[in-house]
Symmetry: C2
């Protein structure tokens, strides 16, 4: 008998039919003699609908009240899923974030899970109940409801798996595993049987949209065995775990991320502390900066370019504008008509030719590169959005990833 | 400076415009220097929509999961109302039932408030926050969410007023006070300036639909000064409190209740314990029985007739059917095509002619009476539903209540 944590996203429980499909997956796992803890997101467009409702009343509501509002989405899901499982005749109990003991830090909207007080969870498992937990939400030290931010249900699932020392954490999604590229762009993309945490981390943060990266970080930290698989049809998924022989496949996959925008600070005075000023301002606002390029100084000035998530563009520009005196740039330019295309693979660092092969593929496809960034296991380029799909295909071909 | 509890029903917060009207009422009260605690129900048809969602999945969900689901309705309301008050620039915090310390008994769906752990509430008031509390919901000793049943938000408000020793508990509704009869039926019905708890109790339980009767019982018990007033326009409402001179108005009002159904057990064996058997079965299922009539025994049998709320009819018939052997009636008959019409007035008990004047009015209107029940401060009759409105008008005229 194993303890299995299963996570289902919002599209998996969008309507009654979907809810029963998910309920069948859960009860089948339970019937095989496993303890089952399920994490579920808000149904379909519920979260967007709730945000719409809020904006109608207040375009800038406090994050605290926003979390009170948004957390109802998952609460609806857990009760409906529990009702479906009751209908199928299995013992079940639903728990909200606070009932499940999901203690987070105080940051509304983007809270991180500090710990899980698992007494209630363990008691319910002891009663042989299937336990349905609301994803994406928790409770902070003020006993206020917090949400973990978009994709937070993955993190909820991994945190529960870690706290309960689960044997496996299954993340059910609308794809049936991790591919070498998005199969909608590259039809002969290949499903990976397994992938390392680090590779998955790069893929997640690069817009592969399969797993939220905070959840992968946590899985790595607590050594939680993850599996990404389809909620729609039965098929072996992709295991995410510590992988032994990282050298055997050089490049794991190609990803495209459209959720990116570039900001350029033109002619910033070339003196120490400028970069610190800019990026600490953004960090204080919880805006993650991704690629950063700083030009070589010229005429006592330099240009600083960087990318942020599209959703952060407005906030970032506002912050830069509010502090324009301290930054002292001649102008601030931006565009969100760009995409980030990346290759990921743990063996990359020891194989110096990888980046140049990628650039060759782009050159042959006549695609211009605006920015480049590399890490030990990835190479990313920023290009015009219109070129992004062609770039993914060209790179995938170049590395013959479908083989 | 006073502490005022204000309660707004679901239609008062049905859309953004309504929410801002309510927010204005609240902030005006706050601006006058008062501490304000607000109880709010789920928006418009939210609760019905959620019930619909549940039925689609499971026609007989557990009451526990139903409460998890339904409590989201009020949680949405409190956050939206708080956002509106934030928009108006006032300090505000929303609290769910469990955050507000609304401890209830364990009975899902029909929970009663046991006590209020008011520490958080008092702390928020101490910070000069307007506090918005989710009505209709609480938390039981298992740390599970409970709901108080329909109309429970009134009870939440009164319980909060009692726990916080509020100076006044204002119940905002879609009528502007308590009338001598439903103004839609009797156009010249008169608004009462004040009414006693007991009279209000009878009116509430008789279908006046102004205040939930559990809330009035609680107000009486803890001597909470209530006021019923309009959420739509400013006007003096009706005070509900201990009234000094109860004799000065004989009959307070006439009410009609369509939410009633009659069940008759025909030819039950005439032996001790039969009534106990029947009514204890129903009590166990939490079905309230209202009027009860037992015929005089004849041929060693008797007939037992009683009324229940229409919504309980199916459950009651099911229960009687399941226990038909123990009850041993020849047949069970029922109708829900009836209405209960009642007169209420604290002075009634000392004025023996009141009931007969009521019967005279019905006789003159050629309306047949099926059942009669009297208490110290009310007389109720069960009549055909088609006659109900005519009956109210005739009785209102007979007692010249518009004077």
């Amino acid at each position: 008998m194993s303890l299995i944590v299963q996570k289902f996203g919002g599209s998996s429980v969008a309507n009654a039919e979907c809810v029963f499909r998910v309920a069948a997956t859960i009860t089948n796992t339970y019937k095989e003699g496993n303890d089952v803890v399920v994490v579920v997101s808000a149904q379909g467009d519920t979260t967007d609908d709730l945000i719409e409702k809020a904006k109608e009343i207040n375009p800038k509501p406090s994050k605290r009240e926003m979390d009170v509002l948004l957390s109802t989405g998952e609460q609806i899901s857990i009760s409906l899923l529990a009702m479906a499982i009751e209908k199928l005749g299995y013992p079940v109990v639903s728990l909200t974030g606070w009932q499940a003991g999901m203690r987070t830090d105080p940051n509304y909207g983007i809270a991180r899970i500090d710990r899980i007080d698992a007494d209630r969870l363990k008691a319910e498992l002891g009663r042989r109940n299937i336990v349905i937990v609301a994803g994406f939400q928790g409770i902070n030290k003020y006993d206020d409801i917090t949400t973990l931010g978009r994709g937070g249900s993955d993190t909820s699932a991994v945190a529960l798996a870690a706290a309960l020392q689960a044997d496996l954490c299954q993340i059910y999604t609308d794809v049936d595993g991790v591919y070498t590229a998005d199969p909608r762009i590259v039809p002969d993309a290949k499903k990976l049987g397994e992938i390392s945490y680090d590779e998955m981390l790069e893929l997640a943060s690069l817009g592969a949209n399969v797993l939220n990266n905070r959840s992968v970080e946590m899985a790595k930290k607590y050594n939680v065995k993850l599996m990404v698989l389809s909620s729609l049809h039965k098929a072996q998924g992709t295991y995410v775990k510590e992988v032994g022989d990282v050298e055997k496949m050089l490049v794991r996959g190609v990803t495209r991320d459209n959720d990116t925008a570039r900001i350029s600070l033109i002619e910033v005075e070339d003196m120490p502390g400028k970069a610190f000023t800019v990026f600490s301002l953004l960090a204080k606002k919880n805006i993650n900066v991704d690629l950063i390029i700083q030009s070589i100084g010229r005429n006592n000035t330099k240009d600083i370019s960087f990318t942020v998530a599209s959703s952060n563009l407005e906030d970032a520009l506002g912050e830069l504008n509010d502090n324009s005196a301290a930054i002292g740039a001649r102008s601030v330019e931006w565009t969100d008509d760009v995409s980030k295309v990346s290759i990921v693979g743990a063996g990359m660092v020891t194989n110096p030719g990888v980046a140049s092969r990628m650039f060759e593929a782009l050159y042959q496809a006549n695609i211009n590169i605006h920015m480049i960034a590399t890490s030990e296991i990835k190479v990313s380029v920023l290009i015009d959005r219109k070129d992004a799909e062609r770039a993914v295909v060209a790179i995938h071909d170049k590395f013959t990833l479908s083989k």
